[in-house]
């Protein structure tokens, strides 16, 4: 994997320590590292040039003090710049006074238009709207069939007639009016930006349905070509926003930055998984950290939120803070964790973890072994691991196909974690008091656990998101 920006800059700044002020040459070197990081994230060459210039202006003359890590300062500048570039005005959907509100989907082949159209329809439904999907992709075999299947899953009707895509779109609009649907989403065939004939066709479709919103679907894995494509589609269709697809992969997604910068249109939505509901409004701050390869805590939180049962999680948290966390609970946690994806991808999203930890190939087999050991224990042993003596240890090792020493390690580490969690719970000012006290303690404590930041007091910070991010990773630049 690529090094993230903080690792890159770390090396440079080690040598720059003790200097009072960054010289031009120092800045050049730092800019070189930032450039490489952005290019490896697939940010367009031309866009990188502009970004670097803007960052350079801000970085020259930056005070390098012993107290503040200069690398952190630069990262802060870069991160803020990227957020500013990715964010700006957000797309707010306003519904047409004479329904339906028409949405047109466009993009290259395989960018994810059909899936995104269905996900968007589901999103509109969650907003209390009644969308109609129109399958105007008559090019790819079975594209309409795909849309119909997806439509059936989300309970949204799909309209299509064989023959001409432009006629289908026009008929779809009439159908939406007839049925009284208030949102119309038109899926179109994938086309190359340089294919004049096909671009004319999509322009014709646009003309007959006069869309209120035209979304360009861009694959998060797209490289340098994203800019050419976005420009061409914007010139033909006047794009109102971008849908970034396949963001659940490990691509850094620099294309988002390129497209935003070149056509100046907001990134409206991001598709973050294979499920229909894995579709959300775009968060510029998360994307900035991702492009820089610096962890994605907020996405991790959302994943956790989806996977974890609320009541169960709260009960477990209470137990943990009170020091009543048993191996059974831990086993539960592992099960939940497994639902979030591979351990390495979860680890990858955590900022502030030591590089060695991320590099150490954490295989999911480790989870299996740990599970096997715990499952070989009796219920009583799981509740009170301290009763595990020599003969029990041997039995557990045999049962789980491991060595006695492995069992020892697990038990020892578990008790250490228990102690640590107890301390954190105790320090939250209130112990087993109200739920709020517990939450506050958890946050501060976890922050302390990852990176040694002082427990972030939730009081003085403006919003939950920032609060969390600040507490969770001292290496995540403050916003």
């Amino acid at each position: 994997m690529f090094d993230n920006l903080s690792d890159r800059l770390g090396g440079v700044f080690k040598r720059l320590r003790g200097k009072g002020r960054l010289t031009q040459a120092d800045v050049d070197e730092v800019m070189g590292e930032i450039r490489t990081a952005l290019l490896e994230a697939d940010v367009n060459v031309g866009v990188v040039r502009n970004v670097i210039e803007r960052i350079r202006v801000q970085a020259v003359g930056t005070q390098v003090s012993e107290a503040l890590d200069p690398g952190q300062q630069i990262i802060k500048i870069v991160n803020a710049e990227l957020i500013a570039m990715l964010g700006g005005e957000t797309l707010k959907i306003t519904y047409a006074s004479h329904p339906p509100t028409v949405v047109l989907m466009a993009g290259l082949q395989g960018s994810g238009k059909t899936t995104s159209a269905a996900k968007l329809a589901a999103w509109f439904r969650s907003q209390g709207r009644n969308p109609l999907l129109v399958g105007a992709d008559l090019q790819r075999p079975a594209a309409v069939e795909q849309l119909k299947v997806l439509g059936a899953q989300i309970g949204v009707p799909v309209f299509s007639i064989a023959g001409d895509p432009v006629a289908t779109a026009a008929a779809g609009l009439a159908e939406a009016q007839r049925l009284g649907r208030d949102v119309l989403i038109v899926d179109t065939a994938g086309r190359l930006a340089i294919d004049a004939e096909m671009m004319q066709q999509v322009a014709d479709i646009s003309k007959v349905v006069s869309p209120h919103y035209t979304f360009l679907v861009v694959d998060a894995m797209t490289g340098q070509d994203a800019v050419t494509v976005a420009k061409a589609f914007d010139e033909t269709l006047a794009i109102s926003g971008v849908i970034l697809s396949k963001l659940d992969g490990d691509a850094r997604g620099g294309a988002a930055l390129s497209v935003k910068e070149v056509i100046g249109k907001p990134i409206a939505f991001a598709a973050t998984g294979e499920k229909i509901d894995a579709f959300e409004q775009f968060h510029p701050d998360r994307m900035a950290s991702r492009i820089l390869g610096m962890g994605d805590v907020l996405t991790l939180i959302e994943q956790a939120e989806k996977v974890f049962e609320k009541d169960q999680a709260e009960a477990t948290a209470a137990k943990l803070m009170d020091g009543e966390f048993t191996l059974d609970d831990f086993l539960d946690q592992l099960q939940q964790l497994k639902k979030m994806g591979s351990l390495s991808s979860v680890m990858g999203m955590l900022p502030g973890l030591p590089k060695e930890a991320k590099d150490a190939q954490i295989s999911d087999d480790m989870v299996k072994v740990t599970e096997a050991i715990i499952r070989s224990m009796t219920p009583e042993e799981r509740r009170k691991p301290e009763i595990i003596n020599g003969s029990r240890r041997t039995r557990i090792a045999k049962g789980s196909g491991t060595q006695v020493s492995d069992v020892n390690k697990l038990v020892k580490q578990f008790s250490e974690m228990q102690k640590m969690m107890k301390r954190m719970g105790g320090g939250s000012g209130g112990g087993s008091g109200g739920g709020k006290g517990k939450k506050g303690g958890g946050r501060g404590g976890l922050g302390a656990m990852f990176g040694g930041a002082p427990g972030g007091g939730p009081g003085g910070l403006p919003s939950g998101d920032i609060d969390l991010a600040a507490a969770l990773g001292s290496r995540l630049p403050p916003r």
Binding site: V144, E145, K246, L320, G341
Partner: protein, 353 residues
């Protein structure tokens, strides 16, 4: 378990603790949203008759090329090699998605030669760069591997991320193999994406291949296994096995793919080709795709699709030179004949145009 298991288990504990901790915070922060859990697709009964798209025979590649300005022209326009020369060449390589590391190493070699006065004119420089790049791409066989007399069908497996063009490439390969006189059976192993089976059926009709399909949402391994068995009993030469698109970071789906490959060989057939389909617009993530898919399925070749657009597909240069996986086929358009054998010289020339 090895010696390093101790810190690992601790890490595991820590992560588990952290994850559920933030889960709690996040959950109590917001109201739990009602999330519609949509399961895998239910079997579809009706097969929509989809009109075959009119297959045009335009030379899209030429169109792509004419719309691009040339870095080479600009470099050759100068009488000497200077800083701008290097910058322009680097940016040309980067713009083609070759990647920073590869671009810098290619140019680093040349900078040394310029310094040593072995190269003095821009024309020599361009020649040397092209020469270096081609020499890194030649010497591998780009033929699709077909073994005769193995007592069962050859199995070619198509793998790749979502939307790369696996199904379409498979359809075209089928048509070409049939034209070569081989009998072909398609195994519709993409049981996940809605209507992927229909899409493949359309291709089977077009090309005259046989097809074995399973229920949507079914086990892809068993569909492909059935395909191989069926091909064997009917004495069919070649099984083309489609798989669902998957992002290489999804461990469970990669595990599923590993199983597909393993199970495909349980019967009489042999996997003689595993083709990784990569979209030419793919950026640096392509290298990661190649690594992970190879690790799971021992990829034997790359199919570079959609090269008739404005994207150059330079990432396959990195894939071939760094991972040693040859690019075998290139997609230059929508017709069956537009899937052609990869030509390194043309590819490199196009990178600079």
């Amino acid at each position: 378990m090895n010696n390093s298991s101790l810190p690992m288990i601790f890490l595991l504990l820590a992560v588990a603790g952290l994850v559920f901790g933030i889960g709690v915070v996040a959950i109590s922060r917001r109201k739990a949203r009602a999330v519609p859990q949509i399961q895998r697709v239910a079997p579809v009964e009706a097969v929509e008759a989809v009109a075959a798209a009119p297959l045009s025979v335009r030379d899209r590649l030429a169109k792509a090329r004419s719309s691009l300005s040339g870095a080479v022209g600009s470099v050759l326009g100068r009488s000497e090699i200077n800083d701008s020369t290097w910058l322009e060449l680097e940016e040309a390589l980067l713009r083609a998605d070759v990647g920073v590391r590869v671009a810098q190493s290619l140019l680093g070699v040349l900078q040394a030669r310029v310094k040593a006065k072995e190269i003095s004119t821009p024309a020599q420089l361009i020649d040397a760069l092209r020469g270096n790049m081609s020499s890194q791409l030649v010497g591998t066989s780009r033929d699709l591997n077909f073994e005769a007399n193995i007592g069962g069908p050859n199995i070619w497996l198509m793998v790749g991320v979502n939307g790369a063009g696996k199904t379409t490439s498979l359809g075209k390969i089928a048509a070409q193999q049939i034209a070569l006189g081989r009998t072909v059976l398609m195994a519709a192993g993409d049981t996940f994406r809605a209507a992927a089976g229909e899409q493949l059926s359309t291709w089977a009709e077009r090309s005259g291949a046989q097809i074995v399909r399973g229920a949507e949402g079914g086990d892809p391994s068993s569909v492909i296994f059935d395909g191989v068995q069926s091909a064997h009993s009917r004495n069919i030469d070649l099984v083309l096995a489609d798989t669902a698109g998957r992002l290489q970071s999804n461990t469970n789906l990669m595990e599923e793919l590993r199983k597909v490959r393993r199970v495909a060989e349980k019967g009489a057939g042999k996997v003689t080709e595993v083709l990784l389909v990569i979209d030419a617009t793919t950026g640096q993530n392509g290298l990661q795709q190649a690594r992970q898919f190879t690790e799971a399925t021992q990829v034997t070749g790359v199919v570079l699709t959609k090269l008739d657009g404005s994207a150059k597909g330079g990432i396959v240069f990195a894939i071939e030179t760094e991972l040693g996986i040859p690019v075998k086929l290139v997609g230059l358009g929508e017709t069956i004949d537009d899937l052609v054998v990869f030509n390194p010289t043309e590819f490199i020339d196009a990178l600079f145009e």
